[in-house]
Amino acid sequence: MRSPILATRPFEWLLLAFAATLAPYTLWLPIWYSALLYAVLGARLVQRRRFARPWPGWVKFPLLAAILVLVVWEFGDPRSRQTGTAALLGLTALKLIEAERRRDGFLTATVCLFLVSVQFLFEQGMGVSAYMVIPTLLCFLALNECAAPPGTRGGIADEFGRIGRELGLLLLVALPLTVFLFFSTPRLESPLWGTVETPAEGRTGLSGTMSPGSITELIADDSPVMRISFAGEMPPRASLYWRGPVLWHFDGIAWQASRSFLGRSNANTPGPTRAGEADLRYRVLLEPTDRRWLFLLDYASGIPPETLRLIDGQVVHEQPVKQVISYEAAADLDAPVPAGPFIQEQRGEALRLPPQRNPQTLEMARQWRAEIGNNPLAIAGRALLHFNEQPFAYNLSPPPLTRVDRVDQFLFDTRIGFCEHYASAFVVLMRAAGVPARVVTGYQGGTWNPVGQYLLVRNSDAHAWAEILVPGQGWVRIDPTAAIAPERVDRGGQAFAEPSVWRAGGWLEGVANRFDAMRAWWNETIVRFDHLRQRRLFEDFGLDIRDWRQLGLWFGIGMIALALLSALVFWSRRDRREDPARRQYLRVLRRLSRLGVATPDSEGARSLAARIESERPELAGLLRPVCEAYETSRYGQSGQADAQRLEEAVTAFLAGTPRR
């Protein structure tokens, strides 16, 4: 038997549901592909309004082939998640082209729901998640339309007033059920099968290199990087250096990570993993970066499990951070980073300079070395003094450096720049003076959110500083920017950024804080809810989730609670808002129908009384006063006396008739 015809209305809801499902994908799909799919949908809508017929094969199959070929050509690997998703989107659009039967409608709506879930593999942010409610509801509306048999209205969307109420009731029960199931579904400790690698998708954030302008870009970017809560008081902002990639290699223009084994991620270095008693303890909720590195305060005396400490002191995660992750760490604030192993290789790398560059800088550094001798800290102090004495200025829009000897140009000519210029020039000076030095990038400071009681670090807090190797101490942090513009370190990078209404104080900042706190809560509670946190949650209830009996008990209790809720929602009496006279009358009607008397709603009280007179004379005597009193109190210009009379008549009727 063929499935019934898909009517126009369900079809158009379906089209709308798919269009809404497709929308978030357009963020990363190539523009031509999104445009193609939407064009196909639009053409299909117009065509089907004219005449309901599937598109002919000579349109469909070339389109199918074109979509598949273009997708593979665009995304390359046919087995990657992107390729598969893009192809599924295309196939669903093509299914809509030929959808003429109800079963096509059911299928497409289900695939749309599947696509909604697939979307979360790419993005789990609060905004997108909130948006996904729309396609979800649209899919259900489309299903509702498809399920209505021919000739009936059935559509929730059609009569939103009345049926929308039914949908509302449904959600009223479904939402608590969802929340209950979400927290109760046992999480896997390790995946059943391997995770699929996804390429980086151009997230902003520290890049691992420092070329002119790379940090300015970040400073204009307000997006959050991480949120930190401290076990105790927040330490002074000036000590909050969130260590990121360490840059060793300078080619005269850009700084990069070490090309030798020093910067390689598999180079592990032993170090303390358990913090000392006096150390600062904190917890970080890191937004996805698609990089392995974590940002920790120096010196990281306690590092999270599943992480490595590299030789240059950076701490990296086992896998790239593709979802919000949280970690706990401890720091011995402002302590130098131990030099670690391979000290000779480190020294060699930390003294290397691009040959034949910046003669003026080299010359000045050599003079300092000659004056001061082999005292790294004193040489560093001399350099900072130089920055202070000379007319150096901190500015986020410095004049561009164009000469081959860029450090010369900066130190002796323009003298205007910000952290990347100062860190870069400082390290070059140190190396030229024979002091091993390196650039450290990361974030500095952050914004305290009083609503969420946490420190928010944004991309605009990006910073670069220097470390010099002091024999006997290790790598000591020197921040030349602090010498030029101490307020950068005291008040954060935003002190120099464009003024923004969201940070100007006042209520807008309050709104921004609240919103960010909500986002943090979302990431913490929903996105990061894993098996460990689940176990902890259940421990709060005194339950061990690994014990099946206890879990079963928990589910049983939850289900009973939800059954009570649904009974309350669906079978509650519904004449609460009725007119008092009508409420009295309905009691009588209910009794009558229990006594086997049909009481159609389209029958008036007067007619009912007349009918009962002949059908059930034994009830008529009691019913007549009820009907008369009801009629006058509901339809007449009634007063209190009528209501009283009705109530008495109803009481007499209910008392005088059997319940069954």
Binding site: R582, S602, G604, A605, R634, Y635, G636, Q637
Partner: protein, 312 residues
């Protein structure tokens, strides 16, 4: 003949109803409908076969309420001037004098209205709507009260001009008399000539009393619950798939007026759902424009809606 208090008026109304029922045998429900229409100040459309007593009924009503009665048999060659009258040059006064046509009556029986040309139909319907006729640029006020009882044959016949929907809306009520039942018909056969009975009928209510009764009906109490129900009944016709055009707001006002008149006839102080139910089919049946694929007629669908729409 003179009635002053509302009680006297309603009592006289009951007497009038009884008298009409003596003339028109076995049609008490229909007579009730006609009186409701009269009290509600509406015009009446009778859809029936010839010979079932339409004229007798109209005569009896006219005699009982002391109304000027005139009857016009509509044909395709009847001209508007035959109905409304004509201005003729009068040599004595050396000017045009208006000779009023048969429309200048208080109760006009327009027989087989669908046989008249659309032009004549619209002349009549304009007179019904505006209570006046215009001849040669001069308006002539029609006598008050002015009630049209129009009849049309239900059968599709050649040479007829069906009334357009907008004009059907001018009729408050549409009812069908139908054949009398067995007892009434036997009584008819055995009894004397109806014309003699009508001649015996004496006026029970004056035309001015009718006006007073209309005013009484107008101010009868309709509670919000009754208005809700009236609205539900009207709204149901606009939602039903079988109906292409539902009841107009004018029909809604008519429904309420008719229900009040019905309540007055039943000597009630307020409108109850049964009043609305009693007049609903007569108000709706000729106004509903059915979808092309709908089965049944306006009356049967209206009756079905009555069974479906819950009383709020």
């Amino acid at each position: 003949m003179d009635h002053h208090t509302p009680e006297q008026l309603t009592q006289a109304l009951a007497a009038a109803e009884a008298q009409i029922n003596q003339v028109v045998l076995g049609k008490s429900a229909e007579v009730r409908q006609v009186l409701v229409c009269l009290l509600a100040g509406g015009h009446l459309l009778l859809e029936d076969l010839p010979g079932v007593g339409k004229t007798t009924l109209a005569h009896a009503v006219a005699a009982t309420f002391d109304l000027d009665f005139s009857r016009v048999q509509f044909t395709s060659d009847l001209l508007p001037s035959d109905l409304v009258g004509v201005s003729i040059y009068d040599q004595a006064t050396a000017g045009f004098r208006f000779h009023p046509g048969p429309i200048f009556a208080q109760l006009l029986l327009a027989d087989e209205i669908n046989r008249a040309t659309p032009k004549l139909q619209s002349a009549l319907l304009e007179a019904m709507a505006e209570q006046q006729v215009t001849v040669d640029g001069t308006s002539h006020r029609l006598p008050q009260p002015f009630v049209v009882v129009a009849t049309q044959n239900p059968v599709e016949q050649s040479g007829t001009f069906p009334l357009p929907e907008s004009q059907l809306d001018r009729f408050l009520f549409s009812i069908s008399l139908g054949y009398p039942d067995e007892r009434a018909e036997k009584a008819l056969l055995g009894a004397s000539d109806r014309r003699a009975v009508i001649a015996e009928a004496r006026p029970v209510l004056s035309a001015s009393a009718l006006t007073a009764l209309r005013a009484l009906a107008e101010v009868l109490h309709a509670s919000p619950a009754a208005i809700d129900y009236a609205y539900a009944l009207i709204a149901a016709t606009r939602k039903d798939r079988r109906i292409r055009i539902g009841l107009s707001p004018r029909a809604g006002i008519g429904l309420m007026r008719a229900a009040k008149a019905h309540a007055l006839l039943a000597r009630r102080q307020h409108v109850v759902p049964e009043d609305l139910q009693a007049v609903y089919v007569a108000v709706a049946r000729h106004r509903l424009v059915l979808a092309s694929d709908a089965s049944g007629d306006g009356a049967s669908i209206a009756r079905e809606l009555l069974a479906q729409v819950p009383i709020p």
